[in-house]
């Protein structure tokens, strides 16, 4: 790509690319987001490419195949979308490639069996826009993801990329940019919800030799993949946001911190930065202006604590990721003790859209306190797992039952976990809560970066609390006593409960210890570490008591407190459990009720998983 030396050159290029795009007859988009990749979408992309060549509908005759980032509906993956027409094929296999190319690309027919079957209406949906999962979303930060090739800057420019940058650089003063972001009410989407505009302004005011901007792409929260999807799906929107932010605060050096568990994100962000630099969108005199700024990619070493801003900055400096006390904010004294603006991936990705469409448009979505939208990764025991974006203020019920399609057959909703290890679990009666920063915090959870994990009646809340605590024991940096020693002891107390060794004062001890960990820990990781325990204890106390007093895990998860039995009346004698049992603990003749031999049973729950009639129960 040639170096762009003026905003006009950018617009000229955009027009040129748009013209080329117009000439394309059909495009086959193959989703290569994290979910689809895990289901082998790379092979499908290859197969489709091969078929297009074979059937002579390739680029030379105006057809195009494009691998994209996450389209969102991971549950139905691998996904293939044919444009024009928004034709949406789901659960595609490599062997379907020939048919798709022949009938939908070459011809104009639909492959009926690959279309999405709406479980509500029992109708096949032709276009993805008809699918409730998509129809109920509002995409801002994720708008372009899934519609373009993330490795091609031209794609991004053709889709409007860097227009906001040109607008900011040539029609706005830095202070006007800050003012715009401030008035938009954009809040940091990495979890804290701090007002972005205010943060930028503090950075400008702070004395320093240099200023830095950082993109937090650490996304350590287990159960969250919005940032991964964004970096892998549309790196240029993040880069563009960062350049605008750098211009606003007067920074010339930026870092994107990406966790090493996301190799593709590292690769695409690096590629994006390199391409942007070649095109004159990064580096000296961006777009011919007198503003210079460059970005380096910093790979994390695999530590959850590095999502915490001061630890992240230490990590970028090449140090061990130990947080510092933040009585002096990192926005004033951050990276190498210089004023530093740190925002997460989604926040940066939202900035260009605000610059383009304005404050009023942005504020028309969401709530008064939390305007705009928020991306979530919906996962767990919900039908439609995937990547979604909704206006702030929608209810959890709309997200889980509307977009998410509710739970699986015969399973009932028990809790939804938000905010990762710093968040909490919310029960059924909190489902009508509006999702925004303040509401979730008030309810004892938090927004976090946007992981949303749905749990059904087979999830044990004590086990979930224990899971998160174990995670934090492992991920604590170990610098301060309350977090290092406290979470370890918290885990020991919880393990006592899940192993049936707890006494009645365990809950009081947990609460007392949790209070000190929250009050006295050094950083946000420690201060929020007891949240999973406290929120489950508050909402599901009975379940804790059952473990302690009755020595029974009602959900059948805690092995020492679980004994599975087969209900004679429900069992149809299908024999599935018998086959699934890894230790031959199940006896029974075909079509007659089966039984579990307690002495052999290892409580692995394999039988319960496969039983089609829920005859395997937790003994009382």
């Amino acid at each position: 790509m040639q170096r762009l030396t003026s905003p006009d050159a950018l617009e000229k290029l955009r027009a040129e690319l748009a013209g080329k795009r117009q000439a394309i007859k059909k495009t086959v988009f193959v989703c290569c987001g994290p979910g689809c990749l895990a289901n082998g979408s790379r092979k499908i992309a290859d197969a489709i490419g091969l078929q297009m060549e074979k059937q002579k509908v390739d680029a030379s005759v105006g057809y195009r195949r494009c691998t994209t980032g996450c389209h969102g509906f991971c549950e139905q993956g691998p996904l293939v979308i044919v444009q024009p027409g928004d034709i949406f094929y789901c659960k595609v296999k490599p062997s379907d490639a020939a048919t798709i190319v022949e009938r939908t690309v070459k011809g104009d027919e639909l492959v009926e069996r690959l279309l999405y079957l709406d479980p509500g209406t029992k109708q096949r949906c032709k276009a993805f826009t008809e699918i409730p999962f998509y129809a109920k979303q509002t995409r801002v930060a994720l708008a372009r993801i899934g519609t373009l090739d993330p490795t091609d800057l031209g794609n991004a420019i053709a889709s409007g990329g860097y227009a906001s940058l040109a607008k900011a650089l040539f029609t706005m003063k830095p202070d006007q940019v800050i003012d715009l972001v401030d008035r938009s009410g954009l809040r940091g989407k990495g979890g804290g919800g701090f007002l972005t505009g205010r943060k930028w302004r503090s950075c400008v005011k702070a004395p320093g030799d240099r200023r830095y901007v950082i993109c937090n792409g650490d996304e350590g929260d287990p159960g969250a993949f919005m940032d991964r999807a964004t970096m892998e799906g549309d790196p240029h929107c993040v880069i563009e946001g960062m350049i605008i932010g750098a211009y606003a605060v007067g920074s010339h050096e930026g870092y994107v911190y990406v966790r090493e568990e996301y190799p593709l994100a590292v690769e695409y962000m690096q590629l994006g930065v390199d391409e942007a630099r070649k095109a004159g969108l990064l580096g000296d005199n961006i777009l011919g202006s007198d503003f210079s700024f460059d970005i380096k990619i910093s790979r994390g070493g695999g530590a959850f604590v590095c999502g915490e801003s001061s630890a992240l900055m230490r990590s970028v400096e090449g140090k061990v990721g130990e947080p510092r006390a933040k009585y002096i904010h990192s926005v004033e004294r951050g990276l190498w003790d210089q004023p530093t603006v740190l925002n997460n991936v989604e926040t940066w990705a939202t900035v260009p859209v605000i610059v383009q469409k304005g404050v009023d448009w942005f504020r028309s979505m969401g709530t008064k306190g939390s305007p705009g939208t928020k991306a979530f990764s919906l996962s767990g025991q919900v039908r439609n797992t995937g990547l979604i974006e909704v206006p702030m203020g929608v209810t959890l019920r709309e997200v889980i039952f509307g977009i998410g399609g509710g739970l699986f057959k015969r399973r009932t909703f028990k809790a939804v976990q938000t905010g990762g290890p710093s968040g909490g679990c919310l029960p059924e009666d909190k489902l009508d809560l509006a999702v925004d920063f303040d509401e979730l915090t008030r309810a004892g959870s938090m927004m976090g970066s946007g992981g949303m994990i749905v749990m059904d009646d087979r999830a044990c809340m004590v086990d979930v609390a224990r899971y998160f605590t174990a995670f934090l024991v492992d991920e604590s940096c170990g610098k301060c006593v309350p977090c290092r020693e406290g979470t370890k002891q918290l885990l020991a107390l919880l393990t006592d409960i899940t192993h049936g060794n707890a006494t009645e004062d365990h809950l009081a001890r947990i609460e007392a210890l949790a209070a000190t960990i929250m009050q006295a820990s050094l950083c946000a990781l420690g201060k929020s570490a007891p949240n999973p325990v406290l929120s489950t204890l508050k909402q599901f106390r009975q379940e804790y008591l059952s473990h302690i007093e009755k020595k029974r895990c009602p959900a059948g998860v805690c092995k020492p407190l679980t004994r599975f039995v087969i209900d004679e009346e429900t069992c149809t004698g299908c024999g599935l459990c018998l086959k699934a049992c890894p230790v031959d603990a199940i006896r029974g003749e075909k079509k007659k009720p089966h039984t579990i031999e307690p002495s052999k049973c290892i409580t692995c729950a394999a039988c319960r998983e496969v039983c089609p009639v829920d005859a395997v129960e937790v003994a009382s």
């Binding site: 530590a303 006390a325 006593v481 209070a515 006295a520």
Partner: protein
Amino acid sequence: MSTLVKIKIDEKEYEVPRGRYLLAICQENGIPIPTLCHHESVEPWGGCRLCVVEFRKKRWDSWWTELATACLYPAEDGLCVWTRSEKVMKARRTILDLLLARCPGSEVITKIAAEHGVYQTSFAKREGEDNCILCGLCTRVCDRVGARAIATALRGALKEVSTPFGEPPPDCLGCLSCAHVCPTHTIGHTEADGKRTVWGRTFELVRCSGCGAASVTREQVEYAVRTKNLSPEYFVKCDACKRRESAATFAGLLFDERKGGEGPVGPTGSGPSHE
């Protein structure tokens, strides 16, 4: 940083330089604050959390109180601090309870805990022999000294102070600063026959060419000579022998000067002068 601000500690008013850390202010004013990870030779760190105090300040339009470590909290105008509130004491007790579970054998911890009314730990005791509380003083002092021979390894509950690969540290000077700043005296070291052993490495001590006494390691001397550009001559003899030598020199000098009938003559120094 010389602007004075008014703050209140335990309901008493103080005028202190803005930005000065609360721990220093308290120490200067005789207000006891327990701490285990603080040493004046290194930057405040906020690891042990024992120096937590409760503070109240105005943020936007509402008052709020919170715990903060005194070692790292800078004084600002209107700050209100309580050093022994119920919240503070409860946090300190839990922290000491946790430390006691970590190091049940430490006399220092046992004593401080008892002073706070914690006589035995309510938590599961750690198995292990050392009394390391991971205050990080040894590693920070080692960095400050310039040796950078030890550091923390691993993280979270598994974190420990370690030499590279747990082996005798190649960069160690054997200066024992780590052992001296360790609040629980858990860094073992021995000295015998002109040899010193610490961190599994044995160092040869520099023997006085006069009497054979020894106080520092060869590595220390080499490091001082190399990095501080000091004459190696300085390190050849022990303090007692050097004293004798300098006494003899001055006595001689004095004798000579007296003969010459000159006025007061001092040595090279700027302080006391010999007449």
